[in-house]
Symmetry: C2
Amino acid sequence: MSNQNESAKAPLERFREIIGRIKQYEEILGLVYWDMRTGAPRKGIELRSEAVGALSSETFKLSTSPELGDLIAQLNEPASLAELGEIDRRLVEETAKEYERNRKIPPELHREYVVLTSQAESAWETAKENDDFAGFVPYLEKIIDFNRKFIELWGVKTTPYDTLLDMYEPGLTTVELDRLFGELRARLVPLAERIAKSEHQPDTSFLEGTFDKEAQKAFSKLILKEMGYDFEAGRLDESVHPFATGLSPGDVRITTRYLPNDLTSALFGTIHEGGHALYEQNIMPELAETTLCTGTSMGIHESQSRLWENMIGRSLGFWQRYLPDLKKLFPGQLDHVSAEQFYRAINVVQPSLIRIEADELTYNLHIMIRYEIEKMLFNENLNPRDLPVVWNRKYAEALGVTPPNDAQGVLQDVHWSGGAFGYFPSYSLGNMYGAQMIDVAKRKLPDLDRQVAEGRLQPLKEWLTEQVYRHGKLLQPSQIIERISGKPLQSSYLCDYLEEKYKDIYRLD
Amino acid sequence: MSNQNESAKAPLERFREIIGRIKQYEEILGLVYWDMRTGAPRKGIELRSEAVGALSSETFKLSTSPELGDLIAQLNEPASLAELGEIDRRLVEETAKEYERNRKIPPELHREYVVLTSQAESAWETAKENDDFAGFVPYLEKIIDFNRKFIELWGVKTTPYDTLLDMYEPGLTTVELDRLFGELRARLVPLAERIAKSEHQPDTSFLEGTFDKEAQKAFSKLILKEMGYDFEAGRLDESVHPFATGLSPGDVRITTRYLPNDLTSALFGTIHEGGHALYEQNIMPELAETTLCTGTSMGIHESQSRLWENMIGRSLGFWQRYLPDLKKLFPGQLDHVSAEQFYRAINVVQPSLIRIEADELTYNLHIMIRYEIEKMLFNENLNPRDLPVVWNRKYAEALGVTPPNDAQGVLQDVHWSGGAFGYFPSYSLGNMYGAQMIDVAKRKLPDLDRQVAEGRLQPLKEWLTEQVYRHGKLLQPSQIIERISGKPLQSSYLCDYLEEKYKDIYRLD
């Protein structure tokens, strides 16, 4: 027995060493990406991209090395696994899966792809600034071609697009997504129609005006602190497209974007990214030096950003507590607005052009459009050059609005420039996971509504830490939601929540 | 012949590949250090330091690999060298020298040192903030011990400290430095005495007051632009200790520190770092992917920062041109000050505590003190715990001032926390190089004084680019100064320059 023990120990040590190195390089790469998005000088981007390509390919080499393969083969044996603690066992399983995936990609192809996407993000920023879709197309075409190659190498699941979906939400399929989106459509479209016809449209006039940027920043910081975001383990910056990035639990950075004519954009953007950040800051320290130190899936990650943004940040209680603070920062601009009025205004349902500024209800239509387009790109060979036409047509059909230009249309999101095809559905999954979690939270913390209305946000944060955050990638998404609710993911919780909320706001019977 | 040609070609290609990779990793590490100094969250520092250690040790492994050694051995043969272009030849020579140095350090020792200095810089920041020298001593002791080990491994030159000096200024010795500082002392101390006795002391009262930080920032940016600093290839941030870092010619970052009660600190700090940055931004593109893409020595680097800061930034002509811009940014605060008065005020000679705020003349005494202390640490085994006592005594003796606390004394500079023992003399070397260069520039650009007075700073920048910047590490420091002036480095130019300047300001006969 002790022999077996020792034979399992040396490989484990070496295995953890390699995993630790991969994690360290990923942390550094994460920092370089953060820098590229928050103000790296334009003229340095080309060489920086090459450097990123070099370090990524070294990381890739580590994660596909024959040595790691041998270690996995040794450790992934039942006898060895039985000797391992929970963390190591899961780490071996997860690494084995990643190893299989990565080994199928030739290193040179990987390196080229990293350099390409690194340059493409800058190209996208420029294209968006100049409303120049044509300038972005060459990058997009190449990125899609690369992804087609990857799909072939990984193996086509039911459809090529299914192969991509599985990367962001293990096991997710187009069949399942078609069903979930179908259910959402069945209940939410009629709801939207009733809302449009309601005579009780919220007054949003007080949200118009010019809102001082420094005051917006101050309020963003205040709310992040209230949520329990630790500024000693993170920082808030600005970028064209807001994001959160967890470099380590001690360094989880948020960016936002302040619009002078829009009070709510930066505000809810910040809370959204703050939700992501709470997740990453509260992963248990035992995982810190492993590749399990991250969110378990994009859907679960988005559940946290969307839950904090909408179910907390757009709740009545939240504004009963925080509207006075907001008023103080914008003297004279919101003096006569009540919490109830503010709550109704920020929840106005209004078909719009920009996903990240959409209301909670139509948001899912923005996602459906992207989901359908991605399916067309990979399953029906839609030509990327035709994207603006398809995009604008789908927006007209589903939302009744037409982008005046590509900057406000097909160029609005960063995702595709980074090759993140298959990511978008995560947002709607996140809405569904979040509603299912909050349903349980309200029973486990029966006082929750009052806590929020009194600015006591920590009990919720602690409950979510216990249920979700601390586990990092130690639990699978399905385990997370089943541990919490005793059920797999369902669409009904989101529909129930939205119906209840909007019936009240729009005074539907 | 063609056979020889080909046998030299394959190794060269591989050699350039390895050098390129080393350069890329150095660029990324430079960015991580920049981040750690400009606002990386405190709680992430420990893991970040480990990650830096990992990537540094990978870089170190590359630069000490047997493969690189073999390539150097092949390429460093007369027959092979003859086939190489100028850049490759110099790259092989320089790499061979570095290889010899690096091979003497065990990789594990190197890794530990990188982690240590990475943590020590944060510890220094905290210690300086809290005036807690005792909290910093354990780091300092370890760093000094490491350096003692390195000296032993590299081989003691005439004295242990000589081994360190050679790193920053190839060939520089304590004998040479004792001579140069001796000459400076012989001419500058009497000058300082005459100045102290002068009845024409400048009025500096208008430099007192509170100066808006945003206005300070705006002026810093204005002057950087005038100098020709390219903001598309760099950015200006804040840090406790100002610095410039050249990640690539397309990304050269500057930091500064704004003091609300001191107009000149950030201003001259920015110009100083701007001088460093002009050097790094203007290295010829052909060197960009090699380790020659950096300043040729710290002395030459400091010549550029000090030249721009003092010989341009503290000249009368400069303020004839830019004082009106400054006045506009601080309305009511400098209205009745003339360029002549301003010029005299910013050149007041005043023994002081803080090196980076010292006047041009006594600055060299600050350097002498550090030089003497470093010699004591390495050649006389001074105990680091005794540093505050020694520091304060030397300041009392040389400058007649005593620091009220260690934050304003021995803890003021970042250098030692990064292990940069032997660096400080570079500043005085820089003053001497700079004066020798400007002496020639005034003859080559006979119009120089008027150009500065009219805000035409580009001819000087272009001349310095041609003579210094573009060559990066392609030329040795001695080649640079001899190409420019036809002579090796001499102290007399600096003395002449200072005597002429201060005789005028203090109305010395």
